[in-house]
Amino acid sequence: MKKLDKKFIIFIVFMVAVLLVPFVVTNSYMLRVLCNVMIYSIIALSINLIVGYSGQLDFGRAAFVGLGSYCSAILFTTLHVPFILSFLAGGLFSALFGALLGMLCRYSSFDYLTLITIGFSEICRKVFQNWYAVTNGSFGFRTSRPEFFGFVLDTPASMYYFCLLILVICYIAIKRITKSKYGRAYMALRDDSIAASYAGIDVKKFKLNCFVIASFFTGIAGALMAHFTTFISPTVYTTDESLLELQMAILGGLGSLPGSILGAGILTIVPEVSRAAYEYRLLIMGVMMVILMLFAPKGLLGRGGVWDKVVSLIRKKGGKNENK
C-alpha cells in the first residue's frame, strides 16, 4: 500500500513538472523539440502495441503516420472541415488502411507482414509524391495550426499543452487496452499462438484488431504532426523514418509503455543536441543500436532490460537481497 502511494506521489510530481515546463522553458525551439518528442512518443506507443504486445514486426509505420497527416491536413485546409473532425478522421483513415492491409495479411499469412508493410510504405510515399492534385506532390502540403471555434493554437506553449493532452489520452487508452482482455490476448498470441487458440482466442482476428487499433493511434500522431509542423511533404514518410520509429520502441523496451516515451525522447533529443555532429548522427545511432542489441536486447525499460539489471545490481550491492 505504501509503495502505491509513493508511486502516486511520483506521478503527481512528474505531471506538475511537465505542466510547468512552458513557464520555465520559454525558448520556443526547446518547446518545439519537446512537442516532437510527444508526437513520436505516440507513434512509438502504437509500435509497441504491434511489435511489443502482439509480436508482429512492422517496418512501415511511417506510411500510417503519413496517411493520418495527409488526411487530416487535406480535410482541414482544402475542405474546411472543423478541426476536431478532421483530426479524428486522420486516425480513422489510418485505421481503415490498417484494416485493409491486415485483412490482406489475414488471407496470406501474418509472417509476411514485415515485407508487406515495407511495400505499403513505399506505395504510400509514391502516392503522396505523385498525386499532385490532392497532395501537392513533392512541393509539400501547407496546412495550419489547430483551431477550436475560432481560437487558434499558434503559440508554442499552447501547442505544447495540446500535444501533451493528446499524448496523455493516447497513453491512458493504450495502457487500458494492454491491461484488458485485448492486451492479454495480444500477449498470449505473441507467446504461443497454438495455446492462445486453445484458450478461445481467434488468433487472426486479434492480430488484425491489434494492427487496426495501433494504426488509429499512429494516424492520430500523424495528424498531430501535420498541424504542429504545418507543412508535410512525402520526404518525411520514408522507410528510414519507419526504422527510426521502430528503434524508439525497441530502445525504450518492447512491452513497456513508459519505455516507448523514453525511447522517443532519447532518439529525438540526442540528434538535436548533437547538431554539431549532425552528419554522423545516423552512424552514432547505428552504433548505439548495435551496442544495445548486443548487451541489452530488451531495451532500457523492458522486462530484463537495462533498468531491471541496474535495479537488481543495486539490490545485490546494498545487501538487502529481497528475493532470498
Binding site: A173, R176, I177, S180, K181, Y182, R184, A185, M187, A188, R190, D191, D192, I194, A195, A196, S197, Y198, A199, G200, I201, D202, V203, I213, G255, R303
Partner: protein, 257 residues
Amino acid sequence: MMASILKMEHICKNFAGLKALDDVTLDIQDDEIFGLIGPNGAGKTTLFNAVSGFSKPSSGEVEFCGENYTHKTTNEYCINGLARTFQNIRVFGDMTVVENLKVGMHKLIKTNLADIILQTRRQKAEEEKARKKCEEIMEFLGIEKYADDFAGGLPYGTQRLVEIGRALASDPKLILLDEPTAGMNEQETMDLMELIKRIRKRGPAVLVIEHNMKFMMNLCDRIAVLNFGKLLMVGTPSEVSSNPEVIEAYLGKEEEK
C-alpha cells in the same frame, strides 16, 4: 444423467500415405475420466488434434455437445467448452501466472473496446470477477504464491499446474490432458492424480493421455487402447489390463509381476 459429450465416428487421419488414425470410434460421457493409452506413435496426440479442430480428420465425424463439430476451428471448440493442455508445456512465458489464467477466461469476459477505453463500470466488474475467479482457481491448484511471477521462470511441475489452471479458468465441459505426468516424479504424479479427481468433481469430463499405467488404472473410469492408429479396445481398467491383445501390444512386461 449420463450424456455423450464428445463422440468420434470412424475418424481417419492420413499423413501422406501413413494411416495415423484408422477408423476410430469413441464416445466420451460428460462425467467420466476417460483414458487413452497406446505405445509411442499409436496416434494418441493425433486423435486429440483431430477432435479439437487443430487438424481436421481426413474422414469421419466429430460430435461435441450434441452438435457436429467436424469442420469447426479450435477456437469454436473452446468457446463451446473444450480446454486442453499440451504434452510439451505451452504456458505464456512472458506473462504472469494470474494473467495466464485470465487468458483462459478470455471468452467469459464480456466487454468491448469502448468499455475498456472508457473503463466503464462493466469493465471494472468483469475484471474484478476475473480476478476473483483466478484467485479461486490458484488456491484450488495451490499455486497462489506464484500469482505475480512470470510463468516462463517457474519449475516444470508448476508450469503444468498453470496450464491446467488456464484450462479450468475457461469453465470447460471437457478437458483434454496430453501426458500430464511427463517429467514428474512419483509423488508429483500421485498429487496430480488426486487433483484430476478433484477437477472432475468441479464439473468437466476429463480425457487423458498417459503412459504411466499405474496412474491410469487408478484414475480412469474407462480406457481406450490405440495401437498403430487402430482402436484395440475400450473398457474398464481391469478389463483392459486383462485383455491378452492389449497385453501383447502394450502391457506385456507390466503383467509379469
